[in-house]
Symmetry: none
Subunit: 324 residues, 3 copies
């Protein structure tokens, strides 16, 4: 679809969250269709996880985003979908790859939302494809367990913070979950959550560096618990790390199912977003260094540095391989 | 209401689809109100058909669109509504007629959506008004049957197409039907469908001529089958004909009610949109000729030429009549 | 227009904020049109103040809201607009008055947004209408000055608050101002701000009483400073007072024009919203009493009580007058 002014920031760059939302919608459609392709109980595919994804080039207002999706692996209870986004300038005809994302979905019964159904198997062109898919499946399963454990953190507000400290840029947003945010089962679309997360992360990044910023990448996101229609969700973000030209922001989503039930607030999702700052000509700008004060902030900075160096090393290895 | 940036293209011209959506909402309100004006079963008026409509002048961001609607004819089971749109520049006070559209609605029971109710008759000021209305009613009934028959076509994707061929500009868009897209009966508003159709047609037109384009007219649209909430709809468009200064695009809407039911994908709507290309000063520009390759494409081009010449002849006849 | 699921809460009651937004749009159209009705510099009318308004009956999904606006007084530099909202059930034909609101607008030059232009005078049917309008004008001018002075308050977050305390339900929301939120001058529509304020106030009310809540009234709202496109606005709400069946919530809007300029965060708007809690049958429910802890909270509770008793006395006087 054509990118509209509301999809973009004041500089005309489309929000990463808008792209993530389109990706998720395409994934939900293809996996729901697949899981209903055999006779049996009707179901809706719910997003369980998005693998790390890079935003390779910014999309602008007026361009057309082409989204294509393909099922690449099925386990007994989950579907792996590969989604590619191309942006196309329909005036010049120029096309660019914007995103390649991998998403995992789980089919939930339309009658009983707590029941996970079985996924019809797909045919693989080659045996290796199935083996590689299985490897990816095992890896993501492990990672999901790990993030579930470290998921207890809470962001406390800081009064009168200094510029460039963690407390200065941290932000939170509340959103009342409306009908358009939800699937047929009455639970929030994963894409809606990701769009709000990107919005908070973008505000944190802009508060820190006070320039035009764009999403560069999103680390793997795990959706631990569903969020029901009518809930209030609080999305909080804080900066964890800065390199010379990038900022890492940790985002938490907490849900308050407060109208219907006496249930407690719970952590639904958490993830790391990486942003870069761009000049008016679209060149990356240096970023002010994050000032860490407490022990926790210093520890998180070091962990962020670890993720940054690991990603950098991986990318260099890929480029060397590609160059051979 | 005031036209917003999201209602318009990058050149600031409001999308024809936004106007069509406002027209349909006004028509749905007036006809639902009329059909419930007598004691009896409650109903919601569903759009059955929109007559050919011309976009007489483009509307811009910041202008106010005034929509007025009037019931002009009732048959036993249908209502004809005439909707006029005026755009008003509230800074200068200038007003222009933008559209005159004729829509046909059918009242469906709120309890049983497959039951068509009876329409309370209206009073005509003069006997001729009733006779003319009846003539229009018979004509549209015939035309609806005809389009139903030729409705089986499918758009296949073409790999590496040449510029200005049919395959080069053809486009499709997938949309998951959400709650705000639907009436009280849980079916998609006709206006929502038309807005999406205009969006696809606009992408086809822009891909072909790579300039700023605006909707010039929409041929009669027939709504054969309802589309249910939760369906996935695929809207596809392909160019069928070009004159020196206009492009005709055929648009299909296919619905996949894939979650609930074992039902097959079906063709819900089809229509022809005509676009013109505008220079920065708002003057019509010449359009590159459509290159037809297959027999089918050549046949459709000739048919499009037929429609174009017929419309042109009709307009000249009207102008001569007006000049007398 | 027809009320959609997205306009309403889970119980199907349309948000007060949606109604306020429609009211403001109607007021902006009529006053901009009036201020441009004479030759001279083009201008856009900006919302300066909304008088206290009561929500007389809840509107539901599927109903049609009819908005009508009329200019009732002009001073040299401001326009008073009276807006009435009727909700209409187009199935039964039943109509109810939903709102009567009075808004004040100021014409700002399209070329220089800091220049207030002169308003063309209107003709009054009777001399008394002009005198009464002048009286209303003087009163609101005084009230605007007063709220400007008490406007310095800030909401501090509270950690681990007890249920029914002020800290327990207080909430805040951040919003990045997009193009569709703004007028032609690039400043936020007053109606957009009011919709967000109602959203926050509603979340505060729901957090306090954990039931279905609806907006009962909004106290006079003054728009002290404009908010520019690209700003981040923080909308914060805290409960100030509860009677047996109502809750008063104070809402602040702070703007951060952080991208463009080195300007400080500033208070743009503040207001009091009153909510009631409704049972499933639409009857008012008792509300848990607000627990006040600090001296400030106790003082604000007493002030809220004063406003509550004053409004109650005024309403009784009106009813007695009406009964005579």
């Amino acid at each position: 679809r054509i990118m509209r002014p509301d999809d973009a920031n004041v500089a005309g760059n489309v929000h990463g969250g808008t792209i993530l939302k389109m990706i998720e919608e395409a994934g939900a459609i293809i996996s729901t269709r697949h899981c209903n392709s055999q006779a049996g109980e009707a179901c809706v595919a719910a997003l369980a996880r998005v693998e790390r994804t890079d935003f390779l080039s910014p999309v602008c207002i007026g361009e057309v985003a082409n989204v294509s999706a393909e099922i690449t692996y099925t386990s007994r209870h989950s579907v792996e979908v590969q989604v590619n986004v191309m942006s196309e300038n329909i005036l010049t005809g120029a096309k660019k790859v914007t995103n390649k994302a991998t998403l995992w979905y789980v089919p939930l019964s339309l009658k009983n939302v707590n029941k996970v159904l079985e996924v019809p198997p797909i045919q693989y062109a080659r045996k290796e494809q199935e083996d590689e898919g299985k490897k990816r499946y095992e890896e993501q399963k492990l990672d999901r367990l790990e993030t579930k454990q470290r998921n207890g953190d809470v962001i406390f507000p800081i009064i009168n913070p200094e510029p460039h400290t963690v407390g200065y840029s941290q932000s939170s947003l509340i959103h009342l979950v409306g009908p358009s945010d939800c699937t047929l089962l009455g639970f929030v679309h994963g894409g809606v959550t990701m769009k709000l997360m990107d919005e908070v992360a973008g505000i944190v990044a802009a508060r820190h560096c006070k320039t035009n910023i764009v999403t560069a990448s999103v680390d793997a996101i795990n959706f631990h618990k569903k969020i029901k229609k009518g809930s209030v969700i609080t999305i909080s973000g804080r900066m964890t790390f800065t390199s010379n030209k990038s900022m890492e922001i940790e985002v938490f989503v907490d849900a308050d199912p407060f109208v219907d039930e006496p249930q407690e607030r719970y952590r639904a999702v958490s993830a790391f977003f990486t942003y870069v700052s761009l000049s008016k000509e679209g060149k990356p700008l240096p970023v002010p260094q994050l000032l860490t004060e407490t022990e926790d902030e210093k520890r998180r900075f070091e962990e962020g540095k670890g993720r940054y160096l690991q990603t950098k090393a991986k990318r260099q290895a890929q480029m060397q391989q590609a160059a051979r």
